[in-house]
């Protein structure tokens, strides 16, 4: 019989642990590799190409929010990281650290939403682990996932390929996830605000299938568009000029940012990605993404240029026609007083 709340005993490795895995996890994440519950999943041979491996930890507060929960995030986040390497994600591992006293039903809900996300992405969760920590030592559920995929032969995706003139296409409206989390934290109810957490690997594949020469891919997760563009500009030695008016941001996301004093360009997305493509491929990239990417409304939002000596790595052409550097966050984006 399943207990209503997680006890320290659920992490003991004894009967309660087995019960938790069998009742909360296996019914949802069932597949032949996981079902044997052995020490390691032994997998079939990889398809041809270069393996791509990624891992990520998820400690979101609140652990459940409109449009998802930490389970869905753990799958989408890692699937998307693997896909950003140009790889086809195949298998995931999922470990959860549960705080004593968490409702068992919530743990099961996370497992179920992880399974749903895995199904959407077409990947299997083939190994897992559960640990329980004392009340106060965690926050409901922390999740850690790893993902393995394969970059098909002939594909080369990365910032080393970026050239001046390349166009940056954003797959959909940005900041939905970050705004949803901040709104939930501050008790701002909105019927229209939901996290964008979703796997994007199918949309990435669609770009390659359409024959588009994808030079680089990144997902604007932590730190949002600001961080990812600054990182890419740093690595490439070029500068990125973003067109503020072209960056898709939903009005409800803007409203939350206005209320809380946050910058939408610094908000995390969990189901959006940026593609760098040659200028002549920008239109077809937008077309393909309009049909395949979660969230719809893709847009070309900027381009790569040679960086003038001493110039800023990322420059924003503002809606008003001014230019300004787009700097990284320092620490967390703290709300302002007035």
């Amino acid at each position: 019989m399943t207990r209503p709340t997680i006890l320290m005993g659920h992490g003991s490795g004894g009967r309660l642990t087995t019960e938790l895995i069998r009742t909360a996890f296996l019914p949802h994440l069932d597949n032949p590799f996981l079902a044997v519950l052995s020490d390691a999943a032994v997998l079939p041979e990889l398809p041809p190409g270069r393996p791509a491996l990624s891992t990520d930890a998820f400690v979101v507060d609140p652990p459940e929010f409109p449009g998802g929960d930490v389970g869905r995030l753990a799958v989408c986040g890692t699937v998307n990281d693997v896909a950003m390497a140009g790889a086809r994600p195949l298998w995931l591992t999922l470990a959860v650290i549960i705080e004593e006293g968490t409702p068992t039903e919530f743990v099961e809900r996370c497992a179920r939403s992880a399974a749903t996300a895995a199904e959407e992405a077409g990947v299997q969760v083939v190994a897992g682990d559960t640990k329980v920590v004392a009340k106060g030592a965690g926050d409901a559920v922390f999740a850690i996932s790893a993902g393995l995929g394969v970059v098909p032969p002939g594909r080369d995706v990365g910032d080393h390929r970026l050239e001046s003139g390349d166009v940056l296409v954003c797959s959909g409206p940005i900041g939905d996830h970050g705004a949803t989390i901040m709104a939930a934290r501050h008790g701002l109810d909105s019927d229209t605000l939901t996290s964008d957490a979703a796997p994007v690997n199918h949309a990435v594949e669609a770009l390659f299938e359409a024959g588009i020469e994808v030079r680089s891919l990144h997902d604007p997760t932590r730190g949002g568009l600001k961080s990812v563009t600054n990182e890419v500009a740093d690595r490439s030695g070029l500068r990125i000029v973003l067109d503020e008016a072209a960056i898709p941001i939903r009005p409800q996301v803007r409203a939350v940012c206005d209320l809380l004093g946050l910058d939408p360009l610094g908000l995390a997305c969990e189901g959006r990605f940026l593609s760098w493509v040659p200028a002549e491929a920008a239109d077809s990239t937008v077309r393909v993404l309009a049909e395949t990417a979660p969230g719809a409304a893709p847009a070309a939002i900027g381009r790569m240029e040679a960086r003038p000596s001493g110039g800023a790595p990322v420059v924003l052409r503002t809606r008003t026609g001014g230019l300004r550097p787009l700097d990284l966050l320092s620490g967390t984006d703290l709300p302002r007083i007035c």
Partner: protein, 371 residues
Amino acid sequence: VRTMKNPDHVLSDPEVLRGLVDEITSLANRVGRPVAFMEVCGTHTHAVAAAGLRRMLPTTVRLISGPGCPVCVTPVTYLDRALALAELPDITLASFGDLMRVPSSTVTLEEARARGRRIEIVYSPRDAVNLARKNPDRRIVFLAVGFETTAPTIAAALAEAEADRVENFLILPGNKIMPPPMAALSADPDLNIAGYLLPGHVAVISGWESFRFLAEEHGLAGAVVGFAPADVLRGVADLLRQTVEGRCEIANLYGRVVDGTGNTTARTLIERFFEPATTEWRGFGPIDGSGLGLRPEWRHRDAERIPVELPDPVEPVGCRCGEVLRGVVDPPECPLFDAGCTPDAPVGACMVSAEGSCAAWYRHDRYGEVV
């Protein structure tokens, strides 16, 4: 106070803005010499930077950031007292997020929290009242900083705590009001400005007439403006026109929300709880009547009355925040700017908040003309 919808359409329409920039350029030519205006309010500093307005202006028109960034003018001694209170076992501090990284004589609130002190970030003073309700065995001390704009919400929180008898809700009074430091600035012979862009949000509460003394007593032009790019540019154009015509008046260009007398309900609420007090401003020192102290009948809510041991105040060596706040030097003239003092590791308070002059300069202007 922020509006839910960006008044995007007209107020940040590139065509409209180009028209305003053309007007400003021709007025600046008529002035015929370099001229500087001070934007008093930190939200203006932020708005100017975020829209990239500085680069749209002619090089002879300079905008200087004034003392209207609440965290920037909060003195070291206020933070020292807050940190000392946090050492008491039954006290939880509740603070606006901006204050968390402001340097004190010892550590920041953020560092103190990492060391286990109980410090919570709240968005509204009423969140702090709720925190007090949820933790009846602890005293919740709200760090009451900000200007005329936050004072009414703090007074409302006090009123709520009184009405509902939430006895464990206290504040550490640190609120300030704008006119006294502006009077001090206007009398400063080092200050070389032709006029002020006046804080629209403050004027919503206090009314634009509260700034008339600037024109009447100090002979300085002023324009009360809103926070959209076109608002700011209209203000600059108005100040230039006053300069050209040799006038000095207070123009209210934010008529959609500001009137002459302001919000009397808010002011009545403030007066119920607060009275004028001498308070210290970082960069200015103590200024008579520039602060809001709790009236004696609310002393049970006054955390300043809790005895604590305070360290000797330590101001960062070399930091020129004070002169930056008075508009006497630009941030890069400080020896610490981008050399030991950055938004990642701020030494002076002006480098902390996004609306601090140094932080805004660091983020938006340190690349100079290269962008």
